[in-house]
């Protein structure tokens, strides 16, 4: 009888333990929807290295690549082939969300076709001009643009409707200039746009604060404003926000991860928990900073509703700009 009770307790204990550990990824994987070395690769390294250093992984996490359409190919792959694979985190950025909002991830796919699970960090837009440009503040630039919007050429690393274009459009809109009247030039990636700015082919470059690390000190470009709600830290501490200068132009670049739409609640909860543990870990947050991102701690259901809300906001922006009907 005693034995039975012991056995019962043992099985009971086991069941409990098994419930707590209901999901454990057998082959954790991070899918970077870009070529190696791209922005999504860096995002994936944040979980693969950061989780490892924070001691959150039993099996090392592999990073695989699936480039195409700022994440469109990966989104279709996950929905079509592995909708219930709890092993695979897929990296996304605000750029992916913007395309999703415009229906560029395929006609039948929207933000409800994924389970948004954890944030890696954020970056913010930054308005840059050449170092010897005549403007010292964003207000001066905006005043000149208002006089004749067609006089200045704005260029950035993405086409019309991309995140970079959106930053420019938001700047125009908040300066009461019709975004359609701006002269916008699309380059292949931020590097080319930066080169065009240095070469004087374009006058304004709405880029990211993160990519300016190391360039600020070289003094070839001047950052007039960061598009963040508050001032940034570190080497950006001296750069005022657009808001401070009276122009309500904000753009947050969110980087994070989603799981397939049919992934079980256990798996979803497992990853959400891992993220909340990671945010408490110094090693993880150091990895985030190393990869040029600022902390943004949001996971699970909170992130899921945040992302859906962001996509809705972006859809409105795109509609106002005439990008979608």
């Amino acid at each position: 009888m005693k034995l039975n009770i012991a056995a019962l307790m043992l099985t009971g204990g086991l069941t409990l333990a098994m419930n707590a550990m209901a999901f454990e990824p057998s082959k954790p994987e991070c899918i970077a929807p870009a070529k190696p070395g791209g922005g999504f690769d860096l995002t994936c390294r944040i979980v693969s290295n950061g989780f490892a250093e924070a001691g959150l992984l039993k099996t090392p996490m592999a990073v695989t690549f699936m480039p195409g359409g700022v994440g469109a190919v990966a989104y279709n792959h996950i929905n079509g082939v592995r909708p219930d694979d709890g092993n695979a985190l897929v990296a996304f950025s605000s750029g992916s969300l913007l395309n999703l909002a415009q229906g560029k991830f395929g006609k039948d796919l929207d933000e409800s076709n994924a389970r948004w699970v954890g944030a890696a960090g954020v970056d913010y837009g930054a308005i840059m001009v050449k170092a010897d440009a005549p403007w010292n503040t964003l207000a001066e630039l905006v005043a000149d643009i208002k006089k004749d919007p067609t006089k200045f050429v704005v260029g950035a690393g993405g086409g019309v409707g991309s995140q970079d274009w959106m930053k420019a459009a938001i700047l125009m809109k908040s300066s009461a200039v019709d975004p359609k009247s701006m002269r916008y030039v699309a380059y292949e990636g931020g590097g080319e746009a930066l080169a065009a700015l240095m070469g004087g082919h374009i006058q304004v470059y709405p880029g990211d604060a993160g990519e300016m690390q190391g360039q600020l000190e070289a003094g070839k470009v001047r950052v007039l404003a960061v598009m963040s709600p508050e001032r940034l830290e570190g080497e950006f501490a001296n750069i005022p926000t657009a808001l401070e200068q009276g122009i309500d132009a904000q753009w947050t670049i969110l980087r994070g991860f989603y799981l397939g739409p049919k992934v079980s609640d256990e798996a979803y909860q497992y990853w959400a928990d891992q993220f909340s543990k990671a945010y408490e870990s110094e090693a993880f947050m150091a990895t985030v900073a190393d990869k040029g991102l600022m902390p943004f701690k949001m996971q699970g259901a909170e992130l899921d509703s945040y992302v859906r809300e962001r996509v809705g906001y972006m859809r409105n922006l795109a509609r106002e700009a005439g990008l979608i009907q």
Binding site: L42, V73, N76, G155, G159, Y184, A186, G189, E192, D290
Partner: protein, 511 residues
């Protein structure tokens, strides 16, 4: 003097045992990767990057390894171009034009040796130019705006016209097909999807490598199969030919010019080995006007030019990466990403703050190039023997390699199907006596031309006058006009002048 000091620092980094070993490994692996059809420098670097990262190498060592793979692959790309008519990578497309006919004549050894020496000379020349004038060149690169790119592409197209040969209409149709393929994808000017058929894989446009491999490798395999079915294999003679001093002397100016062209085009962001080799080839053919009947049939000048140029462009594309933090080619874009993964921000301050990385890399490239030449020359005999492998074994191996190579780009089977479709299409084109190189060049040049023309016009607000602005634009426009007019004038002059030179030897059908 200061430069020499820095270079000495660089060599002390590059000659450290680990780095020396990595540069040799990188070059060797690069040559292998480059010689495999379908896997080019981009894939090579992309495949090794996660590995280098996982091995925990210090940043300069990782960069030395990856750069070794990069220029090693530019070296190796020529092997399958020459022996199999399948470009090992995109920069080696032009190499097929004269390299393959040479190897069909039994001069595979000569072609391989000559191209190895040209590659070496191209790399070394480019490296010297880089050491002497990197900062100056980075200025040149950023001054080069959309207008200048437009003219450079127009010039490249004019050079292409020299490839017209005996079938002008078919060449033009080929270029048109390439241009059409270039229009697929998101239109950056308006954000509208063009000709994507709703397939997300086409949103970024048609992948260049898939087209190259589909058109060249798969169609070559189909052609081999056809021969096999008809039972009329042409056994390629495996001669024991080698490059002679006379050959080298004959191409010395060709190599020198192509090195400069390749290097400068490499320095420009957005233009890489494929454009560099096409412009070099076209320029040489123009210069040889009147004496160019052999181009396309196994002329050593037509082989030396693209090989010197594609290697020079690899070195050139490092210049903006190191000095400005701006990639000069697709492969350097990945190298740049690699640096950032090691928490190093390439940019204007790299040379000052981390000279061991920048100069260590440059020094390692000198060492790597010598190693490549030493490695390559004795192996030529081995490579040539590839041709004596029975087709029954060779064909499946080529097919397997291309499939693996293409799958490794995106990890998506869509590309494999698309490649096969293109292969069948390429095979049909060949049966109709189209040349395939113009298709590829139309695709590459067309994309750069369209993007930059639209950039130029958005900058000017639609005013075409922007295209006639600035000394560089005038120079390139002048070169274009010269490339168009000089040959006709030359022909006219020779017709009206005393008939000392017999021109227009009857063009042989080149099937």
């Amino acid at each position: 003097m200061e430069t020499l000091n820095f270079l000495a620092t660089g060599f002390s980094v590059a000659l450290a045992p680990l780095n020396l070993m990595l540069v040799l490994v990188g070059c060797f692996v690069g040559t292998l990767i480059g010689s495999l059809p379908g896997i080019g420098p981009i894939n090579g670097v992309a495949i090794l990057l996660p590995l280098a990262y996982a091995m925990g190498f210090p940043p300069e060592s990782a960069l030395i390894l990856l750069a070794g793979v990069y220029y090693g692959a530019e070296y190796g790309g020529r092997i399958s171009s020459i022996l199999l008519n399948v470009p090992g990578d995109a920069g080696a497309i032009m190499t097929t034009l004269d390299g393959y006919p040479m190897s069909k004549r039994g001069e595979g050894g000569r072609a391989l040796a000559l191209s190895a020496v040209s590659s070496f000379a191209g790399s070394m020349g480019a490296l010297l130019m880089m050491v002497v004038s990197a900062p100056l060149l980075s200025q040149f690169a950023i001054q080069f705006g959309p207008t200048e790119y437009v003219w450079l592409m127009v010039f490249a197209f004019t050079c292409l016209a020299t490839m017209v040969g005996s079938r002008p209409v078919k060449t033009m149709v080929g270029v048109m097909i390439g241009l059409l393929l270039a229009t697929v994808g998101v239109d950056s000017g308006t954000g509208v999807l063009r000709f994507t058929l709703g397939i997300p894989n086409f949103f970024d446009g048609v992948d260049f490598l898939v087209v190259v491999i589909g058109l060249f490798a798969i169609s070559e395999v189909l052609a081999l199969l056809e021969q096999w079915a008809r039972n009329d294999f042409v056994i390629t003679p495996v001669g024991k030919s080698f490059v002679s001093v006379a050959d080298l002397l004959a191409v010395k100016w060709v190599v020198l010019r192509s090195t400069v062209i390749g290097f400068l085009i490499g320095v420009l962001p957005g233009t890489g080995a494929s454009i560099a080799s096409a412009v070099a080839y076209g320029t040489e053919k123009r210069i040889a006007e009147g004496d160019d009947e052999q181009f396309g049939k196994g002329d050593i000048r037509g082989l030396a030019a693209p090989e010197a140029a594609n290697n020079a462009s690899a070195a050139g594309s490092m210049v903006p990466m190191l000095t400005l933090g701006i990639p000069g080619s697709g492969t350097t874009a990945i190298l740049l990403g690699a640096l950032m993964m090691f928490n190093i921000t390439p940019g204007p301050l790299l040379f000052e703050q981390q000279p061991e990385i920048a100069w260590g890399l440059i020094a390692s490239m000198f060492i790597g190039n010598i190693a490549l030449l030493v490695m390559n020359l004795p192996m030529i005999g081995l490579f040539v023997r590839l041709l004596s492998i029975r087709q029954a074994y060779l064909v499946p191996v080529i097919v397997m390699l291309t499939f693996v190579g293409i799958y490794s780009i995106h990890g998506d089977s869509f590309d494999l199907f698309f490649m096969v479709v293109l292969g069948v299409f390429g095979f049909l084109l060949r049966k109709l006596h189209f040349s395939l190189a113009p298709v590829i060049l139309g695709l590459v040049l067309g994309e750069v031309l369209e993007e930059n023309l639209r950039r130029a016009l958005s900058i000017s607000g639609g005013d075409w006058g922007i295209l006639f602005n600035g000394p560089m634009a005038y120079t390139l426009a002048g070169a274009t006009a010269a490339a168009l007019l000089v040959p006709s004038l030359w022909r006219w002059y020779k017709k009206s002048g005393p008939r000392t030179v017999v021109t227009g030897a009857p063009l042989a059908e080149d099937d």
